[in-house]
């Protein structure tokens, strides 16, 4: 009994601690977290150039920015996952440097990540107290104390989740709530929430917002990261905008409207780094009608003409990549009518799609594009082996020739083509993936983020390759989360939101504001 009482006092103490600290500051709201001039680059590519941020106690601060603005890098540095290259961080007025997530937690900073990481076969209480279980007799765990403490935290937050339930039996929304409880059980004063509503429904989201408001009332600072602007205006009071890895603006949300915030997120005018060389013909290339995959995309219809670059824009999780999965036979549950060059086709397996002249450059070259333990030559040739070596025995000479041709054609900077593909830079690796498909002389290109994580020079070359392909009468559908790139190369742009196509804009009428408006 006394054990349970102790727990409750333990929980109550946390809140009084915070209140006392505020009282000590003379009732003034203090600055919980301050960041200046934060820099970080990966392999020569800057992810963060100059990040600035200031979080006050008792506020919900929205961190805004497009894909690639540097938000995740920023969070990772503050959580002690990445080391910063330059810049300063102050916590409660003291300069800090976190070497590990544990150190950040100890300083009262907790994060609720976009990707949840529950231990499925443990109970809710075990998950909340993972790694710091209250010790019992004989070196065991005091389960009664742990469950009571967990229950107290959940009750306090108003979450009706039994603490002895196993995690795998919970809904995604409930798991999210448990993650929040876990963050709070660390007595965190600064709480980062990274896209907390991306996986939960409307009702759970409102429950979450209630909790966020209660946390704010307790004097904590919440950093709220979300692409959904309506949510930001609903729950946050301050904003900071990042663009291209740098601080752009910050202020009170009361002083800004939706259009103004979008302008800050999108920023500069489209730069002139893209030269358009293709002109769409009147001939039909790819035609898709009523493409549906349960739970992923619904009723997608569009037509891409020969010689056209058809852009697809959408946030992560909007269903954009799933369209390509369906078209390339990677999604078995898909339905819909697909026509290639006027003829109905069945693309049930990748082999069928390839035979029909379709090529797919996937979003993540390391995960699905390349065999990293194989050589450059092996990767270039792997999709063309039946053509290069029609007999059972492979023809080393023809493979070498094909590899040499591809390397020259795409200006792949490689030592010997028998070196491992993983020894190349990101841009050159991506060109290997493109080269692999161009070797098959495709008629239809599906490009999913073809320039992600590559440097400016390689990006320009890839755009040139794709442009030339279309100019020669090829058909291209290209997904990108970079608005500039789409506006620069695409003839038309389809916008995806929540698994549906919400509009197709012509090149002449498309601009960054419209794309963002449609996508959120």
């Amino acid at each position: 009994m006394t054990g349970a009482l102790n727990v409750l006092t333990f929980v109550n103490n946390k809140y009084t601690n915070i209140k006392n600290r505020q009282a000590a500051l003379g009732g003034n709201v203090g600055v919980l977290l301050k960041v200046e001039g934060l820099k970080k680059s990966f392999g020569g590519i800057a992810a963060l150039r100059d990040a600035r941020f200031e979080l006050e106690a008792g506020s919900v601060h929205a961190l805004c920015g497009g894909n690639g603005a540097g938000k995740s890098t920023f969070l990772s540095i503050l959580m002690g996952i990445y080391r910063r290259d330059a810049g300063k961080i102050w916590r409660d007025g003291r300069e800090v440097e976190f070497g590990s997530p544990a150190e950040a937690l100890a300083a009262g900073i907790a994060i609720i990540e976009q990707e949840l990481s529950p231990v499925p076969h443990m109970t809710v209480a075990e998950n909340i107290f993972l790694g710091r279980e209250p010790p019992g007799r004989f070196g065991g765990v005091d389960f009664r104390k742990m469950n009571a403490a967990a229950q107290a935290i959940l009750d306090d937050l108003g979450f009706a989740i039994p603490v002895t339930q196993h995690m795998h039996g919970l809904s995604v929304a409930q798991m999210q709530l448990v993650e929040i409880a876990k963050a709070l059980s660390h007595d965190a004063e600064v709480i980062f929430m990274d896209e907390p509503t991306s996986a939960i429904g409307e009702r759970e989201a409102h429950q979450l917002f209630t909790v966020v408001r209660r946390l704010r009332a307790q004097g904590r600072g919440i950093v709220y990261v979300s692409h959904r602007l309506s949510e930001i205006f609903d729950v946050a009071d301050h904003y900071t905008v990042f663009r291209d890895g740098a601080y752009v603006a910050s202020g009170s949300l009361a002083d800004v409207d939706r259009a103004g915030l979008i302008r800050m997120i999108v920023g500069r005018e489209v730069s002139e780094e893209y030269t358009k060389v293709n002109t769409p013909t009147d001939e039909e290339g790819l035609s898709v009608a009523g493409l549906t995959s349960p739970g992923k995309i619904a009723d997608i219809s569009f037509t891409v003409r020969k010689g056209e670059i058809f852009g697809i824009y959408g946030l992560m999780g909007s269903g954009r990549s799933e369209i390509f999965d369906c078209l390339f036979g990677l999604d078995r549950s898909s339905k819909g009518a697909v026509k290639l060059f006027g003829k109905p086709v069945s693309l049930a397996t990748p082999a069928q799609a390839i035979a029909a002249g379709v090529a797919l450059v996937t979003e993540d070259r390391k995960l699905t594009g390349l065999n990293l333990s194989d050589s450059i030559r092996g990767n270039i040739c792997v999709a063309s082996l039946p053509e290069l070596s029609p007999n059972f025995v492979v023809s080393a000479a023809r493979e070498a020739a094909a590899s040499r041709e591809t390397i020259e054609r795409f200006h792949i900077r490689a030592g010997r083509d028998t070196d491992l593909v993983s020894s190349l830079s990101g841009g050159n690796q991506q060109k290997v993936v493109l080269g692999k498909w161009f070797l098959r002389n495709p008629r239809m290109l599906l490009l999913d983020e073809p320039t992600r994580g590559v440097d400016v020079g390689a990006k320009r070359e890839i755009s040139r390759i794709v442009g030339d392909f279309a100019a020669a009468g090829g058909t291209v559908a290209m997904i990108s989360s970079e608005i500039d790139e789409l506006l620069g190369v695409a003839d038309r742009i389809m916008v995806m939101r929540d698994g549906r196509a919400v509009g197709i804009l012509d090149r002449s009428e498309a601009n960054a504001e419209k794309l963002v408006h449609l996508s959120v």
């Binding site: 390339f328 990677l330 397996t349 990748p350 082999a351 799609a353 390839i354 035979a355 797919l360 996937t362 995960l367 699905t368 594009g369 390349l370 065999n371 990293l372 333990s373 194989d374 050589s375 030559r377 092996g378 040739c381 792997v382 999709a383 082996l385 039946p386 070596s389 059972f392 025995v393 492979v394 028998t418 070196d419 491992l420 993983s422 020894s423 692999k436």
Partner: protein, 343 residues
């Protein structure tokens, strides 16, 4: 094209960024690239000094003979391991194929199949077929139904042993025909028949893995199954095929063993899967797939054979041999892991 050595090289290069690895980096690279051949050479040199009998023609022939059965199993295992799989059932499949094929090649009236003994090629075909069939069952379970290879082949390990005992009624199959026994005891140009078969299987495996389209696909599936799938490779078919090959070679090994001992035993091959896996692992084939060569496996099998033989010659008890083999396996993988770091 695709070797562990290459991977080790890339680690070297990436850790030094734009400049190429020079100096001690290159030395380390060479040590890792040719480490296993070097280790084998040192082992042979040391043993040849330690025992004058070691390098005689009859002892070399003896080592190869002792290595041949494990070698045949290990070559089959190499195919499976490159696709990120494992086959624990080879020892049991060896026994099953040995017993069934022997029953077609025995002069014993109790154990023989009606109408036997059959010509030796009939018995051989049946043995290989039994092995391939067992591999096909495992292959379907692993490739089509996505059961982890460890579990599927553990099941086959038990089932095939049971089938062996059922088929033979728990008794060995004795009195094999001289023609059948020849594959285990015969000679051709002074070379023992099992050694010739061992060499032939090596050439076959080397050729298929490094010179055919199928071989490329085996590496592609092991290196990155998702990338292989998007490249239009039938991943399920490739996975299925490697278990069939591994099973067929286990069947062949079963007949070699039966022919050598003169009778097929129901308890043959117990624990053989471990030696086969050991040879593959020592030979530098990565259990995480996509990396490894048949020549590596060959050396791995020879290292085990030479070590056992050398310790025998020096009069060291076989119990110690097991301890040393254990250390060798773990040491080889530790080296492999160090090579992978930083990737």
């Amino acid at each position: 094209m695709i070797h562990k050595e290459n991977r080790a090289k890339s680690v070297q290069e990436s850790s030094i960024k734009p400049h190429r690895a020079i100096g001690s980096g290159t030395l380390k690279r060479i040590a890792r690239e040719y480490g296993i051949y070097l280790a084998f050479a040192i082992l042979v040199i040391v043993l040849s000094f330690a025992n004058q009998y070691f390098l005689t023609q009859s002892n070399i022939s003896n080592v190869l003979l002792q290595t041949s059965i494990n070698g045949v199993l290990a070559f089959g295992m190499t195919f499976v391991v490159i696709t990120r799989g494992i086959d624990l059932s080879v020892g049991s499949v060896l026994a099953l194929a040995g017993i069934v094929s022997s029953s077609f090649a025995t002069t014993s009236s109790i154990a023989a199949v009606a109408g036997g003994p059959y010509p030796v090629f009939v018995a051989l075909a049946i043995g290989v077929f039994i092995g391939a069939a067992a591999g096909a069952i495992v292959g379907v379970i692993v490739a089509r139904f996505a059961v982890p290879a460890f579990v599927a082949t553990l099941g086959m390990l038990s089932a095939a042993r049971g089938l062996t005992l059922i088929y033979a009624g728990g008794r060995p199959v004795p009195a094999l025909t001289p023609q059948f026994r020849w594959i285990g005891t015969g000679n051709l140009f002074g070379i023992p028949a099992p050694v010739i078969i061992f060499g032939a299987v090596f050439l076959f495996s080397w050729f298929v893995l490094s010179r055919t389209r199928f071989g490329r696909y085996v590496y592609a599936v092991g290196g990155n199954p998702r990338a292989a799938k998007t490249s239009g490779i039938d991943v399920i078919r490739i996975r299925f095929a490697v278990y069939v090959i591994c099973g067929a070679l286990a069947g062949l090994a079963g007949m070699l063993l039966a022919a050598r001992t003169g009778s097929a035993l129901t308890q043959a091959g117990i624990g053989y899967e471990l030696d086969a896996i050991a040879a593959v692992v020592i030979g530098g084939v990565s259990l995480s797939g996509g990396v490894g060569r048949v020549t590596g496996t060959l050396i791995g099998a020879l290292i085990i054979g030479v070590m056992n033989n050398g310790l025998d010659l020096m009069g060291i008890e076989s119990y110690y041999q097991q301890v040393l083999k254990g250390m060798l396996i773990v040491g080889a993988v530790m080296l492999d892991q160090r090579g992978n770091q930083g990737e």
